[in-house]
Symmetry: D2
Subunit: 290 residues, 4 copies
């Protein structure tokens, strides 16, 4: 089939390549003309047969909002827009409603796989009407990993990004799990070869996993992780996971602890702990550090 | 080689089978004569060539203590005792010292793999002197999974159980991660097919792992997990992990949250929340439930 | 001065009484005619001299929204509406903008004090323009406790409810602190007289506080809190506190743990712990409870 | 009555003063001869009438252990040793057993009050046999604050330090509660005068407390706490509280979060977050900081 693809950065560029390898035609557009197959969104749209399918792979928030709006102007009844970016699931309904006014379908697709996706395939969680999803299915099949899993039509519009959001929430806590275990091993002197111990866990253990494999890879490249700062951004999904849980009264202690650990990692100093230091000084005369 | 194996329960029985399949001789002893190859510890020891290697696979605490003590009476200089049970790593040093008085070596072996170990192999984390470990190595090689990983000589006596303890701490938080994510998906009605969504994550995602595979298996057997109570025991390693972290001043928020969730799961009612209810009633006249 | 007061429930009724004791005139309106001084909002407004000040003390959300809307119809330029309910601080701006179109001022007032406020006074945190706040000041002075504190003009519209929201977040964690300590004392058998121990803390300790006094009162009324269920609602402020923290990337582990403990207290069974039980059963053959 | 007092530092010195003001005789001993009333422990003991009461107020651990041991040599049947330091409650039983061999009684006394105790009195939680406690009661009465509370005989030997340990656990979480609330207010720009807001809470609110008073005092001395680093030691009781909870399977999320926040405050960089950064880089190519 033929696909319009907006956004050819780290993710989008690799996805174009994987879709092409599966025998499909991709007309890619990017603000950077060196990456693009078409000089403008208009040109990209004009090159596609109807019903057109356009996959948006730009940063969540304003860029996605804007691109969906422009596509609403350019596309026609029966066409479908796929948002494959990291959009908040509550944005999907708004985008779907905007496009529905012109009879354009909308599918949200959560995409996991990172820099390994070109080689291993991208796991896809999608939301939308069955008829709209069907129009994109050949592309989903091209992107997903081989085998039975790696794709789910999770529900109506929003369900794809919701599923991806929860996936990332789980991911945060799994990363934190390995991180805490590693710190404990490093701090104690009981285990003498921590990297080997992590490596030994890659087979036969309950915790064997792709993240463990990546941890071992990182530790072999930089034992002790001495070249790194303990600083971690968060891309939004972790926050939205906690927000959804708070909204639904679901206790989420491990995932939230993982999110807060990232927040704390980005602070030069902890304001809260200044207050604790101040209080200890006030009641106990405990020394403080300036 | 020939191995004495004390304790032929769920774990020990399968381990005997896997070691035998690798071509070694195992003389097993168990209090249950129907499982045992020898009528007594004495008989088991008598059947082994020197230097003898005896693997203890009985419950941690008093049973292990007692068995190690008896073996100390029966064995001789140059023999080696392996504790493959879930002993606390701080017990290992005591056992090693007791045996060392008679020149008997001691190796602690953390074993992961559960009911799948017979088929997939058991991951092994061992601690002890290199000479002692070497005497057991053929058995370790028989038990471990095929491939490069699944075995580590982690350090001196205690390091094997310490590594296994940390492994289990990580395991607690990984299980909690999937559990929290699953509860959020189940509570929300956005994703319509939660089991399929979990299954889709088995390939191509960042969170693909053996625990995820098991979660999918459980969900396919019992969608909604309606046949289960939300009740989870803890086997000790999670508590010791938190104790070690507290002792070493290592923050372990996700692992500890996972341990506390298990504690809470076993309470008929929460005393702490009685107090919260009482306080809300005192200051706000908020209704309470009796 | 003269005040219109909408909502004469548990809080509003006591506040009317305290304001009257200070020598002011209150024209109260409530849907329940037995509580009301005026038969309708219209009648209440008609009884007030200009510039009118009307205090809204109805449940947050739709009831407050509706009442503010009606007052917008009935009041005139120069009048002031005070929202003293537990509104979310983000609602305040919307209310202020609606009223500003007619030149009506808006002040948000977070009110703490519960059932003890009539006797001890109500702590007030208010947001709004200085000129609007000034029009309500005599009522604030009547409501607040004697002494220097108990009142703050915290900032622009929204600041009052924001300050109250954070106050309640702190309150959640303080309650949880006493609750956890109490459970630990009750569970251990080391301390033989837990109520006396709590009572002993009321003077001379670092943790002496009004909440402690209330805990002692509750324990003396019902030692062991045996007449209560460990079940606690949350009124919204705790959730909004966590949401604000997530939005601002502020780690809030103790307050969030307190919120999650309330969520968990209301679950018949924990879905998350069903998953943990299922996983333990899958990998370890651990017994589960049905 | 007459009291021997060992340890005349910040706490011990003030306690000697408060006991003397109540009309009792104190013979103090300290390694620093400028503080001491007796040149040696022997001389101090020799100056006391029988049955002697000696209060030990030296650092927990080895110094207390040693002092109790020396007093065991010097004292006689019917005498009583009080350990008023921050000893771990599990040490008390050992000390009591050592002294009991010579018929010497032992009382453990948890003491709260810090630098304010001289003026306000010290809250006391004591454990031991009633007959031993009775011998010390006049001193307890001198030390405690005026009024009904501030003293409890909490149970047998160990109960005093156990109660004090739980007190401090609660204290950790209360401090953390104020600290988190303060950070949220400071980070947001909604509330414009944070110190005034804290000060307004001192009366009429649910969270009014001595710790809040101290927070206001600290904020008035140093608005923004800019002269402080967010660095907080922990004195042991918080760790022991968590250990006791883990041992008794009591979930303690807020108190533990508070302890972990202190641990984290003392790290130059977070090893765990290095691992999180490494993993994000591995799977997503996310930039890391070196």
């Amino acid at each position: 089939m033929e696909l319009g693809l907006v956004g050819l950065g780290k993710m989008g560029g690799n996805m174009r390549e994987r879709i092409r390898r599966a025998g499909h035609t991709v007309v890619g557009y990017d603000r950077n003309p060196q990456l693009a197959d078409a000089a403008s969104l208009e040109e990209m749209v004009a090159k596609l047969p109807t019903p057109r399918v356009v996959w948006v792979m730009v940063p969540a928030g304003a860029p996605t909002e804007q691109t969906v709006g422009q596509l609403g102007e350019l596309l026609s009844e029966g066409d479908v827009v796929v948002d494959g970016g990291n959009s908040k699931w509550t944005d999907d309904k708004k985008h779907a409603e905007t496009l529905a006014k012109k009879g354009i379908g909308f599918v949200d697709a959560g995409v996991s796989g990172g820099v390994w996706g070109l080689q291993n395939g991208y796991a896809l969680m999608v939301g939308g009407d069955a008829a709209d999803v069907a129009k994109v299915q050949p592309v989903f099949d091209a992107l997903k990993p081989e085998g039975d899993s790696g794709f789910v039509h999770a529900g109506k519009v929003g369900a794809g990004h919701f599923a991806k959001m929860v996936h990332n929430g789980i991911e945060y806590a799994m990363m934190q799990a390995f991180a805490e275990g590693w710190e404990l091993l490093e701090t104690s002197d009981v285990v003498e070869n921590v990297t080997d111990t992590f490596a030994s866990w890659e087979q036969g253990t309950v915790i064997r996993s792709w993240l463990l494999d990546l941890a071992v890879k990182a530790l072999k490249e930089d034992p002790g992780l001495e070249d790194l700062r303990g600083y971690a951004e968060d891309s939004g999904e972790g926050r939205w996971t906690v927000e959804a849980a708070v909204d639904l009264a679901v206790p989420l202690p491990a995932i939230t602890a993982s999110l807060f650990a990232r927040f704390a990692s980005r602070q030069e100093d902890s304001p809260a702990m200044k207050m604790v230091a101040a209080l200890r000084n006030q009641f106990g005369g405990h020394a403080v550090e300036a």
